[in-house]
Symmetry: C2
Subunit: 353 residues, 2 copies
């Protein structure tokens, strides 16, 4: 029997609840599909600070390297908000992304037909939306040096090297080839040198993909167009902070940020996580939406383990649960039959998968 | 009779068309309200490049200083896109903002009741939205040094000094005092030092405004919340690039970016301009929406000249025209009686004002 080693990082806030449901679903499909999953639990973020004093312990850095893939919940919360920056939960996550070399963050924004009424946008605007945001994840202003908080001023550096832009552009073009062959690269080239540079290199990479239609858009306009007419987009390629902002905006098309998964891939082991945060305000109440994490587990099966059939079973199970009217509270009661808890939703998907 | 000197910068693309309509309306209210307006036309952006070789001629820098306020259309277009950065139209606009010291960019995002069906968002989500985005305009990554485009990498610097944050925060708090006394300051303090600094100084300024309720939000979440539930916001206070992105997103609540004005104020003369761009694709066709520029003229009367009554006449005239069913093409035909041209819309507002 095939066997995979999965790093499991539950994290903070709702992290443990939602990851537990994803594991429930993974267990179910591994049985039906006949493969074995071994889980290695690791610490990150607030949970790691509480246990070890640092947000990214060495055991985690070493541990993930031994895995075939890592499934991650969410980190952060008010408890750790006033720590110095290098001790904050978020710094642990950024460090992990960097250590793992996961420079490509894939964030699909799609709308389940079953939830077409659940968004704040009109159904006719969002029905059929299927966007892939390809966000650069280990460069840009998140990691740029120099950076400093001084007495009278503070600064960060938004920097990209040719190689950093090239490799993320290649990821985006490869993905576009498997989709509708359209890429919109988002930058602020009318103001920023780093964006002009980005644009030039993306143009260069485009030469190797004559079938892909490349366009460029300023980030302010992109934020607007995502709301005005999201169906115009196929693949959106952008840098770290613009991708952070735009993928969160895009998530609203789906009706709830609690629905959307993400995959971070790059040099080695991939990291799979919901795009939402740790939602400390609802942690421990059992009402969180596990679907984004369950979808992330599906992306993990598909992209990291090559278990496409298992991934499809999960995706179908989610659609079936939504079609039958099961909803968690965040989705609201549009076309809902029953508002279920986090654990109930996990069990329903595990049953159907 | 009171007399004011108004700098008029028509700019590129649809700039001349929309500014002409605003002048038509200004002429009308100046007659009924009994004051005199003298217009000084000046060059900026592409138009300036074509005439003088540079996007911000000295005559413009000197000229605006002699005015009581400046009304501006829009700049830029494909014709000038491949020039070096220091020669681009946008560089002229950024230079003008810097020269004029207009560090505070006020961008109201409100929804006309008459157009509540015109947005891509559901009417119940947007009805009654009334947000003021206060965007820092002469600092941050737009102007930060060092900045460079090299062979193998490129970078920009996002920097704020204490004084820069203080003064824009004060503007926001003063505005909040005249509104619903709630400020949401938007940053990325979980990742950026410059945002941590921003947050600290905003907190400091807040101490002088005990009546104002201050909250903080990460920029990714803010982009999402603007779409999910925009009514939660009163004043949004943020830096230059985050404000650029968020105010464009917020403009979509209104149904069209062609509706919203902006005021840039600071040390001296204020600059009043629509938040949209020069829309080269529809320039010269007479179909542009002049309402954002006409609203900007109204903001100019109100904030720069203290001609509140005249401003109110214009605001009422716009509402009346919309209530009667007049629309430009960008708004779409929701509840429309007649799709009118740019010049027709200008004449209707001038008539009603
Ligand atoms: C928690 C935070 C550091 C993180 C980011 O900004 O990358 C989050 O917003 C995300 O998008 O995964
Ligand atoms: C034209 C461009 C430089 C400008 C900006 O980014 O400030 C525009 O988008 C705006 O918001 O006024």
């Amino acid at each position: 029997m095939k066997s995979y080693r999965i790093g499991v990082i539950k994290g903070d806030g709702i992290g443990p609840e939602i990851v537990d449901e994803a594991l429930k679903v993974l267990d179910a499909v591994s049985v039906t599909q006949g493969f074995n999953l071994k889980y290695d639990e690791m610490l990150l973020g607030g949970a790691a600070i509480d246990e070890t004093g640092v947000p990214l312990p060495d055991e985690t850095i070493q541990g993930v390297k031994k895995c075939d893939a890592v499934l991650f919940g969410a980190i952060g919360g008010p408890k750790w908000d006033n720590l110095e920056r290098h001790l904050r939960p978020e710094t642990g996550l950024l460090g992990l992304r960097k250590e793992m070399g996961t420079f490509a963050n894939l964030r699909p924004a799609m709308v389940y037909d079953e939830l077409v009424n659940a968004s704040s946008l009109k159904p006719e605007v969002i029905q059929g939306v299927d966007i892939m945001v390809v966000r650069e994840l280990t460069g840009g202003i998140y990691f740029g040096q120099p950076r400093e908080l001084q007495e009278e001023k503070a600064y960060n550096t938004m920097v990209y090297t040719k190689e950093e832009v090239r490799r993320i552009a290649i990821v985006a073009f490869d993905i576009a080839m498997k989709r509708n062959k359209r890429i919109c690269s988002v930058d602020k080239a009318n103001v920023l040198e780093v964006s002009q540079f980005w644009r030039e290199i993306v143009e260069e990479v485009a030469k190797d993909y004559p079938e892909v239609e490349l366009s460029h858009m300023y980030v302010d306009n992109a934020a607007m167009q995502l709301i005005r007419d999201p169906k115009q987009f196929d693949v959106i390629l952008t840098g770290n902070i613009f991708g952070d902002i735009l993928s969160d905006a895009a998530s609203m098309l789906s009706g709830s940020i609690g629905l959307l998964p993400s995959a971070s891939t790059g040099k080695g082991v991939g990291l799979f996580e919901p795009i939402h945060g740790s939602a400390p305000d609802i942690a421990g109440q059992g009402i969180a939406n596990p679907l984004a994490t369950i979808s992330s587990a599906s992306m993990m099966l598909r992209y990291a383990l090559g278990e496409t059939e298992a991934a499809e079973r999960i995706d179908e199970a989610i659609k079936k649960a939504l079609a039958e009217g099961y909803r968690t509270g965040d989705i609201g009661d549009y076309d809902a039959k029953e508002i279920v808890s986090c654990a109930e939703m996990g069990s329903i998907i595990a049953d159907y998968a």
